[in-house]
Assembly symmetry: C2
Homo-oligomer: 118 residues x 2
Amino acid sequence: MSKQASIPVTDTNAASCCPPLAVQALSPADAADIAPLFKALSDPVRLRLMSMIASIDEACVCDLTGAFDVSAPTISHHLKVLREAGLIVGDRRATWVYYRADPDALRRLAALLQVHPD
Amino acid sequence: MSKQASIPVTDTNAASCCPPLAVQALSPADAADIAPLFKALSDPVRLRLMSMIASIDEACVCDLTGAFDVSAPTISHHLKVLREAGLIVGDRRATWVYYRADPDALRRLAALLQVHPD
DNA sequence: TTGCTGTTTCGATGTTTGTCGAATCAGCTC
DNA sequence: GAGCTGATTCGACAAACATCGAAACAGCAA
C-alpha cells in the first residue's frame, strides 16, 4: 500500500493498450486481449442488450428479458458474457439485478477504431 | 414530418445507421446488421490482420501470411470474412493480391461505440 | 506449351457457441 | 419457517466456426 507512486505496470487488462488500428498494427498478445471484447459484441442479442444498457443509466434484467424472443437463461448467459468482457457491471438489489455499462470500456474500443478524418 | 423531401436512401447498409449505443438502443434489425461487423473483428487473427491492413496503405497477402502461425488457406479465409463484412477490399495485381481498409466502415463502428466524455 | 508461385476454394474435423428446460440460488412476504 | 418471484447455473444438443491438407485457379516466365 505504500508504493503507489510507481508504475501502473502490468496493465494486462484489455484495450487500454494500443494506438488506433489505423495507426499501428496490434501485437499478437494485444489482439488476443482485445478480440474477446469484439466477440462480446458480435452476437445480435448481446449487441442489443449492450445498447439497451448503455443508453440508460441502469437496466433491470427484469425489463431486458421481455424485450427478446429468447429464454431468461439465454439472456442471463449473454449478460454474463458482456460482464466477463468488462463491458457491463451488475448489481443485485433485493430481488432484482441491475446492469450498468462501463463507459471507459466502450471509449477504449471506440478509440481503437478511430480513423483520422482524412 | 415523416416524409423527407427526398429519399433517405434505402440504407439497408450496415452501421451507417444508428446513433451511438450509449445514446439510443439498437433495433433488432440494426443489431442484426451490425453484429457481423463485430464478429469479423472478434477473432484474434482477423483483428490483427485488420490492424496490419489498416495501419498501412495497402497490404500484400504475401506479406500478411508470413506474420501468423496459421496456414495460407486460413489467412485467406479470414481475409474473406473481413472482406464480406465490408471492412477491407482486395485488389489483384498480377500474381499478388493487395488489401486495403475501408476507413468509413471503421469510422462508423467507432462512432457507434462513442461515449460523450462524461 | 509447360512449369512455377501466390492465392483461393473445397472437404473434413475438432472446438466453440447459442439455445433450451430443469434445477438451483437469492431475497422478499406471508 | 413455507411459498413465491427473479436471476443464475447446469447439462445437453444442434449449428457455426477456425483450422488444416489437397486441389483448383490466376498469372507470370521460360
